[in-house]
Subunit: 658 residues, 2 copies
């Protein structure tokens, strides 16, 4: 016994010396025994989830302790101060079979340079589709290596079964920060002597909150993991959709957690709508129905919209009423170049299940409100507001959803899609109510490529969409029974620091002189995006001139090498850096981008051709039933619990049948 | 008549062609007739202010129209739909005498390079210390040039005379953004699997708001102008303290607006405290009593703390109960090198008026609570939390407040000063209540010099101060009658985008390879500021290790040339750039700063040796009576109106005597 005790101490020492950072053996598992969901997980009463247990036996590297992998580990759960019971007894489930695999990882960048991975032998079990119904604290314990143990405290949050909202709209401005909202307001709204003459719709919301976006095992998140946190109440790992990341190779066997869309549909029969300006298999829409370790499993994501999860027993899912966005390449026939799940043509799959398939704005607006609808309006991400409304020639850069290689010239915007989604959901859901997620995806995508004008255009379009949605709900007397939330999934380190005299900048020949074109403090002056120019749109509150002489001195701190002239990119979305040698993954500024501008050395690793996400808390704007739950500062997962509570989705007892 | 009409049109054309930006003739005056307070100004009923009228006659440049300056301009005010009356009649004031001056400005950067200023001849009048008592809209009209006119709409906000809070504490984190709070939380609070184990005190506040910080005539503000907006309800111009900027040469004749401290003291006899970690003549504390176009008039600022405004009739002011901070050079004798107003020794001036003068932490803590106190604890800005608590040798870089050139080794922190201020104010104010402004000034100062660690240390100290203040107020049962506000005056474009393996970075010889030390997304990993190290402090919730191997990949987008190694600066506050030739105002990165780091070309004009402020809305945290007024998104000036309303300071009728 004493020798094992000593080993325990050695393990602890090594564990702290391998201070998991750039690379991690398994993010949620600093010891050699892993429980998923891990310590600190919160659950909605009755929410389905899977359990994954792993025992790690490192074969080499700083954690190697010369032990064979333990195949006799045991797992117990205790409620409150109660006695721990074996998982099979506690949950009344069958014992599951032992799995084994190995994986490798690098302990740090030096090990990576030396190509010396650490190899880990794993023994594992999983228990699928279980739920906890009684609120309170649970202690889950994994006993392994004859005396070592890993404990996880789980909390089932208090029951609130009363439903307060009939409907919820969750608007997500992907990557949207307070800094960007401030900049968008500056270019989209007129100000006189420091007083704005019109307000953003977001600014009119009665309740403001901040949510913390970090991942479970890294402080910067991606959109998959952050969407999952918003939809499931469980933070996870970068690239994960609706699962905790295990260490196995398969992207489809990781332990799942049920999403707000799944629970709402399962318990109430409520209707679901999904709208995004991204390709539809992208992370933010995908997180509502997909469960995979790898957000890049696009085909499977699209299948999950229609069929739910098919490789394990899981929530029954009949498909959303509305699915609108881009990404036709996961829908059209492989014969046309489509890259689809099991080589199916998903236009046909959806049509077979009664969906009306829409491929342009005209048919979207004309579609009946009493039928389910799949709207796919372009290959890849949809065209940006700026290209649909100002630099319209750039629509020729987009591809039609039919897979015919023609341009997609008749694309709807987020507002068109969202208003139609509300019409269909309202028409079809009756008393059951609906849940709609509407995503302005390209705020993020345009920030990634440093195309600030397009990003702010998308943000203003999001605000215009929210305004129109609120107006529609108000006119149909549905506003008082609908919770409207506007938030983001993470930020980019963006801000505006002054103005740029682009005429002066272009007239200088030396970079150090070009920098004198920048006006800070009093020399930032006033926004010229409203005061000059004569662009007019059906929609109000957009710039009247996107190309004034004095532009915004704006940017990111984390970026690739690039040339910056702080002017609108008229020829379509920006490509700030390129490889000198194709395939080299070594990116440099090009002379085609940011002409006449200043050469800026990037800060990111040189294999980045675009910017990255940032840490900052992001804003939450709330209006409607339960709005008071969304004030102050909280964890991103609290958005899920707030919505679930407002829908009354907690359940203190198991369902009678399913 | 027709010729004047034609001229009017020409003026309008020229006015729009001079699209005031990098430089402006006069920010609030796009036409040739100027009214201050300008169009869109809001007033508290009964708030004192001055009126300044100017008629501009450009002698050359694009606005020159060959007219002599009009000396016969008239000025009328109308209430609502009422008939306009001459100002003397409307306000019952004496006609004031005509003033005249000229000034020059550059129309753009090309004109500046060519040294071709535009010269403007001015005729002007001012009316001093007036007030409007009746709520509603007023139209002020300046008639000039025989037919031209400038109109300003003024709004006196609705009367709320009922007092709801006995006390108000306004905490200002200078330059503090949501992004910085997120970063400070990451290094100061322990997190397990995505759940923080402790909360920032700010995060616990029940109400969250965002305020817009822009200046009246530029979208980026400085701390003078933004402090004035918070304290007076009037946005103004960069460098202005409690005045609108006119075009005259004197920094002391600009039209004033009364501050929250002045109104509160005048109307209720309430007591005032001022605490800052900056030099006391700095903008944020100064804005409470100073009224000048030039924040750099440090001597006059310090005199205003004690004597109020002395060059014009203004609010009677008896001095604050508490004035704590740095900046001894404006207090000690000119014989010792002090730079003081009228060469007085302000330690003596304050002592003469009954202030106990304190010069170190020991005497601060021992001071009686029933006496007014002046505490000046260092020359210039006070030492930073990191140098007072971790790298204590750097205290030798500071200078004692006695003017004896010795180091100031016994300096208090913001918490010591704030808690003592509350003790004194509570003890002395009786039923009258008190107003305290407490500023964490060096969040801003350290962000300016890219010293992120010190900035975040100051932010954590602010949070620790708020926590201690709330606890003290709670213990003395004063919390429920005290409105506690935490906000900032502007931002810096700061964020965190990942982590840096500083050991790997230092081991690489080439900048492009050093960039591989940066970990983004999943490779950002977890904060090591809590997990390693063994630093302990009396105060909790600070990093346990400021110098971990894996640091934050953090920074600003707008900066001077500098070398970045993303490591703590152990030798005292950072100096990121230096001149190659002294006095050249052409700054480059030095090899002494950021050793082993990556060379980053700045983006700011090369005469900047530090970063600049940014546009972003900043957060407002509110707790206590009237907290609900501070939710949502609003203009910075609304903070003044919220505080004034909570104190019940609006007055519908003139005071009987004064």
């Amino acid at each position: 016994m004493s020798s094992f005790k000593a080993i325990g101490i050695v393990v602890a020492l090594f564990a702290s010396s391998v201070s998991a950072q750039t690379f991690q053996r398994l993010g949620t598992c600093p010891t050699l025994g892993c429980i998923l969901p891990p310590d600190q997980a919160d659950f909605l009463a009755g929410q389905y989830f899977d359990i994954r247990l792993e025992v790690h036996a490192p074969k080499n590297g700083s954690e190697a302790i010369g032990l064979l992998p333990d195949e006799k580990f045991t797992f117990t759960i205790a409620k409150g101060d109660g006695a721990p019971k074996l998982v099979t007894e506690f949950l009344g489930v069958q014992e599951s079979k032992l799995e084994n695999w190995t994986f490798d990882w690098y302990e740090d960048l030096f090990a990576k340079d030396l190509k010396t991975p650490s190899i880990v032998d794993v023994r594992s079990k999983a228990y699928r589709r279980i739920a906890l119904y009684e609120p309170g604290e649970y202690t889950a314990t994994l006993n392994y290596n004859n005396g070592s143990s890993t404990k996880a405290t789980w909390l089932v949050r208090d029951l609130v079964e009363e439903r307060k909202a009939k409907n919820i709209i969750l608007f997500i401005g992907d990557g949207m920060t307070t800094n960007m909202i401030t900049a968008a307001r500056l270019i989209g709204h007129k100000s006189i002597n420091g007083k704005y003459q019109s307000k953003m719709q977001m600014d009119k919301f009665p309740v403001l909150g901040h949510q913390m976006t970090h991942s479970i095992d890294s402080f910067i998140t991606d959109s998959a993991n952050s969407a999952s946190a918003l939809y499931t109440g469980h933070k996870s790992t970068v690239n994960c959709l609706g699962v905790y990341a295990d260490s196995s190779k398969s992207p489809f066997d990781d332990p799942k957690v049920e999403t707000i869309a799944e629970i709402f549909h399962r318990l109430t029969g409520g209707h679901v709508g999904i709208v995004s300006t991204a390709f539809l298999a992208d992370a933010t829409p995908a997180g509502l129905t997909a469960h995979t370790r790898a957000r890049s499993e696009y085909g499977a994501v699209v299948d999950s919209y229609l069929n739910g999860i098919t490789n394990y027993t899981w929530t029954k899912w009949g498909g959303p009423d509305v699915l609108f966005g881009g990404g036709a390449e996961q829908f059209y026939s492989p014969a046309l170049g489509g890259v689809t799940y099991q080589n199916k043509t998903y236009y046909d799959e959806f049509a077979k299940k009664g969906y009306r398939v829409l491929q342009n704005r005209t048919s979207l607006l004309a579609a009946p409100n009493n039928e389910r609808a799949l709207g796919v309006f372009s290959v890849s991400n949809m065209a940006k507001w700026l290209d649909r409304n100002v630099y319209r020639d750039n629509l020729n850069q987009s591809l039609s959803p039919a897979g015919d290689k023609k341009p997609a010239l008749d694309q709807p915007g987020l507002k068109d899609m969202t208003l139609k989604a509300i019409d269909i959901l309202s028409s079809r859901s009756g008393d059951k109510g609906w849940f709609l997620m509407s995503e302005a995806a390209s705020i993020d995508k345009m920030m990634h490529v440093l195309d600030y004008d397009r990003a702010l255009g998308e943000l203003l379009e999001l605000d215009d969409t929210i305004k129109a949605a609120v107006q529609k709900l108000n006119e149909t007397d549905c506003l008082k029974e609908t919770l409207v939330l506007v938030t983001a999934d993470h930020g980019h380190g963006f801000d505006v620091m002054g103005s740029v005299d682009t005429r002066y900048l272009a007239a200088q020949n030396v970079d150090r002189k070009k920098r004198n074109a920048i006006g800070t403090y009093q020399n930032s002056g006033l926004s010229q995006y409203q005061n000059t120019g004569n662009l007019t749109y059906t929609d109000s509150n957009f710039p009247k001139n996107w190309d004034p002489r004095y532009t915004l001195f704006q940017g990111l701190m984390a970026d690739p090498d690039h040339r910056e002239n702080w002017s609108v990119h008229k020829d379509g979305p920006r490509k700030p850096a390129a490889e000198l040698v194709n395939g080299s993954s070594d990116y440099y500024a090009t002379s085609e981008d940011g002409k006449g501008g200043l050469l800026l050395n990037g800060t990111l690793p040189v294999n980045n051709d675009q910017g990255v996400h940032s840490l900052t808390d992001v804003p939450v704007f709330a209006m409607g039933p339960c709005q008071e739950k969304f004030g102050g500062v909280y964890n991103s997962v609290d958005i899920f619990f707030g919505m679930a509570e407002c829908f009354g989705l907690a359940r203190g007892t198991p369902p009678k049948k399913e």
